[in-house]
Point group: C2
Chain length 219, copies 2
DNA sequence: ATAGTATTCAACTTATTACTTGAATAGTTT
DNA sequence: AAACTATTCAAGTAATAAGTTGAATACTAT
């Protein structure tokens, strides 16, 4: 096998690795995993300057992870395919499996590990059909509107305490958010349990659910 | 929710991305995917200085992608788990899907497009039953032992040149490895063709074969 | 012990990358 | 057309990474 050709191939794959080598870019990818976002919106979400955000996004695009669409004054970026979601999931899995620091951080926040036990997607689907669970989307309103699990109700994390009464208290609650390492759902579960509710977290999050072909709807 | 905690989490995942951001390190990972290797061996395979190789390996270890075992004078590195193989596969998948350059290089490597054409599983099964193909497993010995396609012979990629005489030269060879984006079988096909053999690659790899319910056996 | 080998460490140089700033481009609104 | 907005470009600085070199460590064999 030609050495230089193989080298070139690895260098190409390394471009993708480079794109994944910044925490800010991973954060952007996580936001993009929810749906398309303008540069401006991402800049506000990440707290980076607009120019800097734009540059990061271009790196993601050059690595083939994101693509862009211009509509009027805005440029909307999105993930370029489900392969990217799978890549991010694999990254999270390795982090969880092998980086002590990741586990440490998660525990620091949630105290015990078994309280994190997630509900697999297909199990949730069955139990939702049977009407024995309430599916709770704790993401911000816009993200819910852009697409959510069919039948889920939306109570953004910040409003959870105030709007607790809107959630039926006779069923188990399954909360979800942006993905396995988006911490919104963890937080929601912790809050709900503190109020005496029976709550668990969906394994993965909305992007995983969607890319598994499970039923979604948008408002 | 603590913003800094979330940030820290993304920074941890970015450490893995950093490890994947160098072509040399990806090359090392690919070699390690074939089995454990000493620093010295990897240094020779990659053409890097020993000190440099050692430093790269330590980065891989710190990112949780590789781990090391000392035996006498040598330190043997290996991938730290199957999650890493999946991560690399996802990386390859995204590369092939979204980077035009990758497709270009792969074609350049195989010259014509149809020579890339993989053999579908069921076609292989029929032709294997008819006895007109040799099924070649180019994964490391341990993986073959853990389970392989029924009737396949195992010649790990690294031993292919030496053990070419063990492979019948009157039949077409169909090589397979870990999955659609594992590069072992590509490499094997290229090597075999250079030796004048008629060789193709199985579509997918062992996991896909197995989960399709096709016949497997373990040694 | 001594010599020899594999690996790692530490200091250094050079190349990349992150982020900022100010200006340029492209599209919208008045 | 003029004013305004979102985005990108270009140039610069500060931080980080890659690779080299020579020495230190750890183990083996004589």
């Amino acid at each position: 096998m030609s050495k230089s050709l193989k080298n070139d191939l690895f260098e190409q794959f390394a471009r993708i690795g480079k794109a994944l080598s910044s925490g800010k870019r991973l954060q952007m990818l996580e936001y993009l995993a929810q749906g398309e976002r303008s540069v401006d919106a991402l800049s506000r979400m990440t707290g980076l300057s607009v120019a800097n955000t734009s540059q990061h996004l271009q790196q993601l695009r050059q690595a083939g992870l994101a693509s862009a669409r211009k509509d009027g004054l805005y440029v909307y970026y999105r993930l370029s395919g489900n392969g990217v979601v799978r890549l991010l999931a694999a990254l999270h899995a390795v982090g969880e499996e092998h980086l002590a620091e990741v586990e440490c951080l998660v525990r620091l926040y949630f105290e015990t590990k078994d309280s994190l036990e997630p509900v697999p997607g297909r199990e949730l689907l069955q139990r939702a059909k049977a009407g024995v669970v309430t599916v709770l989307d704790v993401r911000p309103r816009e993200e819910y509107a852009a697409g959510h699990i069919r039948g889920a109700i939306n109570v953004p994390l910040g409003e959870l305490a105030k709007r607790l009464h809107e959630i039926p208290d006779d069923k188990e609650i399954v909360a979800y958010c942006r993905g396995p390492y988006c911490l919104l759902a963890f937080d929601a579960v912790a809050q709900l349990r503190r109020k005496g509710r029976k709550a668990r977290r969906l394994e993965g999050g909305f992007p995983e659910w969607k890319s598994a072909g499970l039923p979604v709807e948008s408002a």
